[in-house]
């Protein structure tokens, strides 16, 4: 174990979306990989700048929907045809067109649950504690300010050097993040 104060990373603050996206580009160009950016609302350009393109969520939701359909069909078929056949005016037991509403609802239900819990799961939420919350000004990340945090795990990270690098990018504060 090292005796130094553990540091999660170095955080810089920005005024608006334009500065913020420019800073992400600069950090990428400087060769940093282990960093994260925080904004009070979704910014498409920021995601592009970080090199985020597709994600796995749509595929997961498709699988969820297909699962819902199959579960719904299996339920309707097994209960209505196998386990508890009910003769209603001599109509066929396996009258699948009459299953459509229930199958549709099951498909949507499973797909929606997958979308929500898949998103939370991939994002690693809920996670009530995170080192970035140690920075007092970070409370503004959910209101009006933009932040970038280069993490200590990055191979290029060097406390003083990274600090100086970030100070060159922003006119606002740069601070250490305790871990």
């Amino acid at each position: 174990m090292e005796a130094v104060v553990p540091v999660h990373g170095v955080m810089a603050e920005f005024d608006d979306a334009t500065e913020f996206v420019a800073a992400i580009h600069a950090i990428k160009e400087a060769g940093y990989e282990g960093f994260d950016a925080y904004s009070p609302m979704p910014i498409e350009e920021a995601a592009e700048a970080m090199g985020l393109h597709g994600n796995r969520l749509p595929l997961m939701v498709l699988c969820g929907g297909i699962t819902g359909f199959c579960v719904g069909y299996a339920l309707a078929y097994w209960t209505g045809v196998v386990n508890y056949p009910l003769n209603v005016g001599g109509r066929p037991l396996h009258s699948w067109p009459a299953y459509i509403p229930v199958l549709f609802e099951c498909t949507v239900l499973f797909a929606s649950l997958t979308a929500v819990f898949g998103m939370l799961g991939l994002n690693g939420l809920p996670k009530l504690y995170h080192p970035v919350f140690n920075v007092e000004r970070f409370a503004l990340a959910s209101q009006s300010r933009f932040f970038v945090c280069i993490e200590a795990t990055d191979p290029k990270f060097d406390l003083e050097g990274t600090k100086r690098f970030l100070q060159g990018l922003t006119s606002s504060q740069v601070s250490e993040v305790e871990s």
Binding site: D36, P40, V61, V88, F104, E105, L109, S112
Partner: protein, 460 residues
Amino acid sequence: MAGNTVQARQRPYKPPVLGRGQTFDTVTDKIAGVVDREQQPRGWWIGFVIGFALLNVLLLCLGCLFAWGTGIWGVNNPVGWAFAIINFVWWIGIGHAGTLISAILLLLHQDWRTSINRFAEAMTLFAVACAGIFPIVHTGRPWVAYWLLPYPGTMMVWPNFRSPLVWDVFAVSTYATVSALFWFVGLIPDLATLRDRAENPLVARIYGAFALGWRGSVRHWHRYETAYLLLAGLSTPLVISVHSIVSFDFAVGVIPGWHATIFPPYFVAGAIYAGFAMVLTIAIPLRRMYDIKSFITAQHLDYMARVMLATGLMVCYGYFTEAFFSWYSANAFEQFMIQNRMFGPYMNMYWLLILCNAVAIQTLWFEKVRRSPVVLFVICMFVNVGMWLERFVIVVTSLHRDFMPSSWFMYYPTIWDIGTFVGTIGLFLTLLFLFVRFLPMISMFEMRTLVPAAEVKEEH
């Protein structure tokens, strides 16, 4: 400048949806300020007290219903559905505008939805909660309402999946679940804002727990946006399916006046129509009470009124088609049904319905009316009443005189019917005012995307 002209050429002119001079801070302070403030305005207290008083009426009516049974209602043979089903359809229809605003308008890139989607979604949830009460208590033995669900029980019976009533159980429960998820997902970033603004550590902890530790990471936003769009895409067909399935409860039956293929689209249009009227009924007092006219502008009222006019005309077309087909069918029962509706014992209800739903909304053709909050509020009240009357006419006039004159009978609501209905309005108001007090009624993070500083300017 050059960039602006290019943009202007690409897009047709759209009136601004956010008042001038807004920044991140003004948006956040104004919306979160409603929740932060120590003392709510007098209007809030008046609304909440009225709502809570009516909620107690609901509890009283339900308590007596559980003690004495559905005999205290005016239901009889042949009118076995009456108020419970009228109110169920009315409430569930109101909910539909919330999903339409949050999902369909999102997919259509209508920026103006941003200021109204949050409370419209809340309205959906509360309306579905009110709606859900009715079919459950209408079963007569609500403590065994779980029999509606497919579960492996010792009785060894299963629901019949070919029955519209089972479709309804699936549709409404799915709709309630998905609406709640959609609403909650939209709230997560705003809950984080409330967490970070809270001065009281306990309040910060409560909001923090619900915010799930949201920290606004760009990676998170990226997946969040995908999930939000997917939910919108899933909700869009869902909302249409729900009211279609509700209409199947009627259309699959053989009763004259119910057994019609026009029912699903006619019901969906009616639902959106009623829902927009309710959104306006809520928005107009709220924007005045909390002085948020720069977020919910006259332009918003105008747009909502236009949607109301369009869907209202579709509903009128439905009335016309019903009348036309009963004549064109050359079926004596169908012809009698429409004649009985228009000139039978419930004719007042029918013509009042036409007055509310077909005549009153014609004023919405005028821009002055659409932009005048007071006049618009009055028209919305007409629509709220009119859509309730529509369900009354469909349910009661069709049932009370069917094929056999020997089984004809009149239906009159009792005080308990009326009390239960008014009581659900109390439940709705109570939930709505609590929502306004404790959660941001406008989506803050989406409003921030409309602020000029959120736009990434090209540097080159």
